[in-house]
Amino acid sequence: MVEGIIGKKVGMTQIYDKSGVVVPVTVIEAGPCFVIAKNADSKKVQIGYGKSKNTTKSVKGHIKKAGAQEDLKVLKEFACKDMETVQLGQEIKVDIFKEGSIVSVTGTSIGKGFAGTVKRHHFRRSPMSHGSKSHRIPGSIGAGTTPGRVYKGKRLAGRMGNEQVTVKNLKVVQVNADKNTLLLRGAVPGASGAYIIIRKGKA
């Protein structure tokens, strides 16, 4: 069995569990994915997902070898324990996950642009009133003549977000293989509509 799947974040909502408690869930449209390549040495399987409008010829040829439809958008390698059971072109659906199991999700976080130190590194704010003229400035960034430079790694303002983020230990609340949807408890990195990778976590 392949240890993960590629999907798309749909958005968040809430549902009631069996005992009537509200559970915040992220809805994910995952699969069907297709096995594109197998690597017996590294025990990994490459699967593809999505629909691309402009696939290059070389990628098309690569996918064609597996006998899957040629316009897959995202190709990704996943670990696979029993390689013999997986065939090229085979369909991977969300039913590889069970309700109640633990997964980790990798996605690209929402870009925040050029962010200041308060937002980016949780620096404390300066007083907003009482004559204070500084509100969100970083303050001192180092000593004077000695060392005469700013230390490397000093946390400053800059680009924030739009980077790969993995959230571990998310619980699977619901699996719907007919509709290819997956409901995970809690939030998942990325904007709605973004491609994400769901891997089986350590139970």
């Binding site: 909502t13 549902i15 009631y16």
Partner: protein, 117 residues
């Protein structure tokens, strides 16, 4: 909203909801778990607010217990809300009756009855 999310939310919603308005006095039959037994407990008071929409809609019920104001917020679609019984319709001119919180004594819960239509 995405149709996928809509489907999921519709599945969690109750098909039939008792009708009640802001200012009505109602009795909410809420399921509570005691140890391993489940029983139904009533909560009677004035509806002072309704918030949210769809599966997220909630309502707030206020009553006075031994001179102390008690408010409970119930999600309308929660399976823990067994049923809601309308006791009295009230005539109010606000959508949120938070002004009742500042009242003391006999006026605290008093709401004019709705004129029969």
């Amino acid at each position: 909203m995405s149709s996928v999310i809509k489907d999921i939310e519709n599945a969690g919603m109750k098909e039939k909801i008792e009708k009640f308005e802001i200012g009505d006095t109602i009795r909410v039959y809420a399921k509570i778990v005691e140890g391993d037994k489940e029983r139904i407990q009533g909560f009677e008071g004035v509806v002072i607010a309704k918030k949210g929409g769809g599966v997220r809609e909630t309502f707030t019920v206020r009553k006075i217990v031994q001179g102390v104001g008690v408010e409970r917020i119930f999600p309308i679609h929660s399976p823990k809300v067994d049923k809601v019984k309308l006791i009295k319709s009230g005539r109010v001119r606000r959508a949120k009756l938070y002004y009742l919180r500042g009242r003391i004594g006999g006026r605290a819960t008093k709401i004019q009855d709705k004129a029969p239509e």
